[in-house]
């Protein structure tokens, strides 16, 4: 079980790592509402790929839970589970719960 604040920290740390890897400064403010996908997104599509992989690896490293965030359910959802930091955080928790059960 991953606590919400832990999942949130993983998403934030992963997002900062992606910006560092591409050599760009992260936005001055990152919070639950930070948009990751679509109009006003802080990342391009490849950045989102990197972010998802980074989050998966961090969840696995910190909690020994193997998660695939881009699963069938996520990819067919009407609303992307990657659209904001907050939504992604909730998706991480739900996916980790599913993987651990």
């Amino acid at each position: 079980m991953i606590a919400r604040n832990e999942a949130y920290e993983i998403v934030i740390a992963s997002l900062k790592e992606v910006f560092e890897q591409v050599g760009e400064a992260p936005p001055a403010q990152i919070n639950e509402e930070t948009v990751l996908v679509g109009t006003d997104a802080v990342l391009d599509s490849l950045g989102v790929v990197q972010l998802i992989v980074e989050v998966e690896q961090r969840v696995e490293g910190a909690h020994s839970i193997s998660v695939t965030l881009a699963n069938d359910k996520a990819m067919s959802a009407r609303n992307s589970p990657f659209r904001t930091v907050g939504v992604l955080t909730d998706h991480v928790i739900a996916t980790a719960q599913e993987a651990a059960s």
Binding site: Q50, V53, E54, Q57, E60, S66, T68
Partner: protein
């Protein structure tokens, strides 16, 4: 954890044949080799770990890669050698057999590439070699679905090279000529002879031929060699 000092290679279909030969080849070169197959393997080496995994099983592949990452913290190279063949005239090929070939040869290759690449991209380094066959370019009658699945592997690998190149991961395909392994033991001798006679170098392939090409692809110096396919025996 800090990553292992030795390079780590994942070899699918490692239990026998070419996969086994290559596993032992890279053990002798100082790699930590993580092999997989559907059954147990009897490779006895402290630097070898075997996983009983069907590469078409998404969850099992994910678990295997997670285990390798947990123990070693890195994956340097992947040899996607696992494959199944069913040599039938297309008019005698059941859908189940065709689907199983696609599952193992195409989806299985994709799953191993996907999960290994996620580990590789964090270190900005990786070498992926996906195995194909000369049966596809020579359009060998009697192997339509097997050849089609291996053609898909080549196309997949070419595109994968573009998708992963930015993270220092190279992706190439390798197609051997017939080699005396279990996979071709049921092929009639006259058919094998006809294939060999159509080659520029008129002999069966050998495991050493495979190692030679893989050595080139997995070399650190091959960082600008990607999206390529090398066939043995003069086939192109």
């Amino acid at each position: 954890m800090s990553p292992s000092e030795k390079p780590v290679m994942l070899v699918t279909g490692a239990r026998k044949g070419i996969g086994r030969f290559l596993s032992e080849h890279y053990l002798s070169k100082g790699y930590l080799v993580e092999g997989c197959s559907r059954g147990k393997a009897d490779i006895s080496d402290s630097n070898y770990r075997h996983h009983e995994v069907d590469v078409a099983d998404e969850k099992a592949v994910r678990g295997m890669v997670a285990d390798v990452t947990k123990r070693h913290g890195r994956i340097d190279a992947v040899l996607n050698n696992a494959a199944i063949a069913s040599m039938n005239h297309v008019l005698l090929t059941p859908a189940k057999s065709a689907n199983r070939m696609l599952e193992v040869n195409v989806t299985g290759t994709m799953l191993v590439c996907r999960d290994a690449a996620k580990v590789m991209m964090r270190r900005r380094y990786g070498r992926i070699v996906n195995f194909t066959t000369i049966v596809a370019p020579i359009a060998l009658a009697g192997e339509a679905m097997y050849a089609a699945s291996k053609s898909a592997v080549v196309t997949f690998t070419r595109i994968l090279a573009f998708e992963l190149g930015q993270w220092g991961i190279t992706c190439n395909s390798f197609g051997a000529t017939p080699i005396m392994t279990d996979m071709i033991k049921g092929v009639p001798q006259d058919k094998l002879d006809a294939v060999v006679n159509g080659l520029a170098i008129k002999r069966l392939g050998s495991p050493q031929d495979c190692a030679n090409v893989c050595d080139f692809f997995v070399s650190q110096a091959s960082d600008n060699i990607t999206g390529q396919v090398i066939y043995l025996g003069g086939i192109s």
